[in-house]
Amino acid sequence: MGKNLLYFEDVREGDEAPPLVVASITRTQIVKYAGASGDFNPIHHDELYAIRAGNDRVFAMGMMTAGFLSHMVTDWVGDGNLRKYKVRFATRIWPGDTVTCKGKITKKYTRDSKNYIKADVFAENQNSEKAIMGTIVAELPSKAAD
């Protein structure tokens, strides 16, 4: 882990998160996430079902990628600092895809004596297509808060 604490005074609009890569998604990882999260929609793990439903193979549930993206976010803004996380699912992630999670601060502001950042976050596949687009709001600690 070993992440640095992000302080409100140190961030600027336009700052980017250290990207996080999850390489070569496997069907096994999809199954692990299905078991962990309780999403047993067969379209994600049952190849015949997925094919009969018109797909060429199973595809990952959007929430697994949202989980990867949340890992990037908490490594960046710190544990317990997230206040809002909203994602829209765009392109699906398929077995073999590599997911890269990124973020960029769009706003820095203070409200009711608390310091916040708003950031755009997204997860891309290996073709730079966006699988997920979203925003976060995080409350950041202040260096002056002692």
Binding site: S37, G67, F68, T74, D79, G80, F89, A90
Partner: protein, 153 residues
């Protein structure tokens, strides 16, 4: 049945105990090696006082709710179902040992013509979760979309 009739439909309230084994399993599934999710000794000594649930962990309420999945409650077809959006608001950390009470309802339901023809059905499920101290810990809003036919990106 017009889709709008679903608006206001409640999901039976349920309890959700937060368990450190499940948190560890979930962290593994999202490839997050944060020791706050996996190491109870480390987590106990942190400001959280215990193993912390990751931000999307409340997806596991699937195991505790009754009355069917979102799709089943709304009469949506898994074969042609897309997850459109998911939104979270966080108020308090969720820690292993907590027992959450979850209340859910359908807040929006509508149809739209699809870009590629056919009808798309949108249903939004909102859940509010409280901990054992009565504090609101989280609100989640999940938008499910049923496409007119084969799912396309």
């Amino acid at each position: 049945m017009p889709i709008q009739d679903l608006i206001g439909k409640e999901i039976p309230p349920f309890e959700m105990p937060i368990e450190r084994g499940k948190i560890k399993e979930f962290a593994e599934a999202i490839s997050d090696d944060n020791p706050l999710y996996r190491d109870p000794t480390y987590a106990k000594e942190s400001l959280f006082g215990g193993v912390l649930a990751p931000p999307t962990f409340t997806a596991t309420k699937a195991f505790w709710r009754t009355g069917g999945t979102n799709a089943e409650i709304a009469g949506l077809d898994n074969r042609f179902l897309l997850h459109g959006e998911e939104e979270y608001e966080y108020f308090q950390p969720i820690i292993a040992g907590d027992v959450l009470t979850c209340k859910g309802k359908i807040t929006e339901a509508y149809e739209k013509a699809g870009k590629r023809g056919g009808t798309m059905t949108f249903v939004v499920f909102e859940f509010t979760l409280y901990n054992q101290r009565g504090e609101k810990v989280l609100i989640s809003r999940s938008t499910a979309i049923q496409t007119g036919g084969v799912v396309k990106d």
